[in-house]
Amino acid sequence: MNAFRAILAMFCILAVCGVLLGAFGAQLKGDMPCPLCILQRMAMLLCVAGPAWLLARSWKREVDAIDYAQCYGASIIAALAGATMSGRQVLIHIAPGDPGYGEPMLGMHLYSWAFVVFATVILVSGLHMLALPRRAERLPFAGASRVVVGLAVAIAALNMVAVFFEEGFHLVLPDNPNEYRLLDDLGLRGDDAQPASSETPAP
C-alpha cells in the first residue's frame, strides 16, 4: 500500500507538470498568458508542492498520517484558490458569442482545463486522505521521486524566467500582454516593434 501511495503522489506531480508544460508550449507558440493564466500556473505549482513535500519528507524518515494530512491539505488549499481564479475567468467568458481568451486546446480553453485540474486535485487529495496509513511507513522509489520533484522545481524555475521576460521591471503584468516587456526595458527590441495594443480580448 505504501508503494501505491508513493506512485499516486508522483502521478499527481507528473499530471499537473504535464498541464504546465502544455501551457508553456502554447506560450512558446505565441499564445501569451494573461495575468489570470499566470496566477493559475502559480496555484498549480502550489498544488504540486503538497505531494512533493510528502515525498521530500519520506526521503529522510518514515511518514505518518499527520504528514499526509498536512501535505494534501496544503494541496487542497492551493487548489481552492486556483479554482476560484480559473472559475472567475470562465465566468468572464461565459456569455454566448464570447470567443474566450487565447486559442482552445483539445476543445477547451486553458482556463477551463485549469478548473478541471483544480477540481481533480481536490478530489484526488480527498480520496487520498480517506486511505491514510494507520502507522508510520517508509515510501519506496526515493530515486524516482527525486527525479519527479526535480522536474517540478525545473518547471517552476522555467515559469519564473518566462514571467520575468513577460513582466520586465514592472510591478504587474498588463491586461493584454502581447510582447516580452523585458526586451523593451533593456532596449533590446528594434524601433519597428509593435507597441502593446488592445486588439485581443481582455482575459
Binding site: 496555484a43 513535500w53 529522510k60 481582455a202
Partner: protein, 51 residues
C-alpha cells in the same frame, strides 16, 4: 510581483528538497497569500467585474 511569487515557489521547493520543512511551510503560506493579493488586484482593479 509575479516574478517574485514564482521565486517564492521555487524557494519553497528548494527548502523542501533540503529538508527545511518549517521554512518550506512559511514560504508556502507567503506565496499563497501573495498570490491571493495579486488575484484581488487583477480581479477588482483591471477587469470589468468586481468581486
Amino acid at each position: 510581483m509575479d516574478t517574485l511569487i514564482f521565486l517564492l515557489i521555487v524557494l519553497t521547493f528548494m527548502a523542501m528538497w533540503r529538508g527545511k520543512h518549517r521554512a518550506a511551510g512559511v514560504l508556502f503560506v507567503l506565496a499563497l497569500v501573495a498570490m491571493l493579493l495579486l488575484f484581488r488586484h487583477h480581479a477588482t482593479d483591471t477587469l470589468p467585474i468586481s468581486l
